[in-house]
Symmetry: C2
């Protein structure tokens, strides 16, 4: 196996390294960045671990590389920030430092290029399983980052895209369904798209009072907004932009509403808008649909309202690594 | 086992969270920081992995928590920067989320308080082994970060503290030597001290032309300075501040010079100083001794010169996770 220096050199060669404000990138004890002092910086860290977040027998290395960075970058989108630099730490089995690593890096290069991210540093070591750590930086204008805590009773709740698509893709793969050959049904699970343009647009226009990305599932992520903001919500079941589930899968118990309410990894943006501003909200931003799905309330509960006006309390049932 | 939110709340309660410039810390999708635009920021990431960097049967959780942060912070010292915020990602077996986690966090709180670091965010997940990721931020005045690449032929090579102490401690523990009961001999291995005050002093005074911390061992870390700077070095064997090895250990083959040349994890500062400035260098800074141990050369090799003037080439033989 190659030395650590050789491996770092291989990584460095794959990624373009120049960026305004990045004074020293890969190869020193630390990266050196020069903030211009005009904006705020957002920083997020994320782990992507073999056998928890991905399975080697199912997920090709390109997918692992792409998705690891996409997931982490989604947190930058959820603040309304524009991505700038990222850092990669990588624990790697000896047998994965050849072709597997090449595929992994190719996937990550493609994500970095798509999201406008520059690799600024990191760390590698040998480990029995693949252990990926990502730190992603982003920038916003001063005071414009959109927090989880800004929702007020009366605000409307909105979500981008469709909900439950990633969970459907995962189920198809795990069930070894013949439908897993349809790339369209797997796209959201394998190649999630952080909603960077929408997040930045919402921050610039000051439309959103609070925001989070749906990484753990609507019911869980919505509870984070409610708790942080000290509010509740009435969620309109009929309005949810639920995943389209092929009829023969519905018959084996895949319910679109359950997938939409509790399925993780969609990486859509879930945000609140003051009622007075909601009229100005377009139906799409940069091709991504926006749907109003509820209204925030004073009562600190998540209540699901069905087509008949019947109300039931909704508990957070999304992904929790410790449950 | 508790939910992820409960666990994050436990972590949050342990660490003080207020810091100038930190607008939003733990608990949102990302932290929000406000750079004042006057200085540069350094950012470093590091992994601390069970069975590679520490062993649970040997290293108590407090030591793991302290050392994980100390190691990562040493890279900030090696840039001459002052530490500011850090981020922790933690993969944790279900059985370690109780008492083990408490000890781990106590060790990390003590390190954070000692180094002046504020926890600004992170991520937790369940994992079969303990997988720790750290991102540490620091600040310097503009353009004052000390890089590996600034050494020039003729500069004098200096090092802080003693070399080989951490390696000696590790060997004593692994050999289950009765000397492992002497806390003094284990201190450097269990509680390394990033040389923050010295690094900052060197950056402020502009004394150092290049710098690195000795994490992988002198021979390896010195090779990083030489390669980055495009120079070589004559290392004076007699001048090395080598670890004091008790006589009965010398007889079983523990050679102080070998420990000093190739032993890892001392986290001392290795730096170069232009000859004209070397006279102004005190023998100690903040109680930490500084020793001149060689001179940089045009010839791109590391040459060890013994007491008789006999020269031998020295190859990097320190720690490499992939070797």
């Amino acid at each position: 196996m190659a030395s650590e220096s050789t491996l770092i050199e291989r990584v460095r060669r794959k990624f373009p390294s120049a960026r305004a404000g990045l004074r020293v990138g890969i190869g020193d004890d630390a990266a050196v960045l020069r903030p211009d002092g005009r904006g705020d910086w957002v920083i997020t860290t994320d782990q992507f671990l073999e056998n928890v977040h991905f399975l080697r027998r199912i997920h090709p290395p390109r997918v692992v590389g792409y998705k690891a960075l996409a997931r982490a970058t989604s947190d930058v989108a959820a603040m309304g920030a524009g991505p700038s630099c990222f850092f990669l730490t990588l624990g790697l089995p000896a047998g994965s430092s050849g072709k597997w690593l090449d595929g992994f890096l190719d996937g990550m290069v493609s994500a970095a290029s798509r999201f406008g991210l520059t690799l600024a540093g990191g760390d590698t070591t040998k480990y029995p399983s693949v252990v990926i750590g990502l730190t992603v930086l982003g920038e916003t204008a001063r005071g414009r980052a959109i927090l989880r805590s800004g929702a007020r009773a009366g605000d409307l709740l909105c979500v981008s895209g469709r909900l439950g698509e990633a969970e459907l893709g995962l189920r198809l793969i795990l069930k070894k369904s013949r439908l897993a050959r349809r790339a369209r049904l797997l796209r959201k699970h394998l190649h999630p798209e952080p909603r960077l343009a929408l997040g930045h647009w919402l921050a610039t226009k000051r439309y959103a009072s609070s925001m989070i990305d749906t990484s753990d599932g609507l019911s869980t992520d919505l509870s984070h907004i409610c708790i942080a903001s000290g509010v509740g919500v009435e969620l309109w079941a009929e309005k949810l932009p639920v995943v389209g589930v092929p009829p023969d899968l519905r018959s084996v118990g895949l319910d679109p509403h359950k997938l939409a309410l509790h399925g993780g990894e969609d990486y859509e943006l879930l945000f609140t808008v003051a009622k007075g501003l909601a009229g100005r909200l377009p139906r799409r931003v940069g091709g991504v649909p926006i749907t109003v799905i509820g209204e925030m309330t004073r009562e600190k509960r998540i209540v699901l309202v069905d087509a008949n006006g019947c109300k039931t309390e909704l508990k957070p049932m999304g992904w929790d690594p410790f449950r």
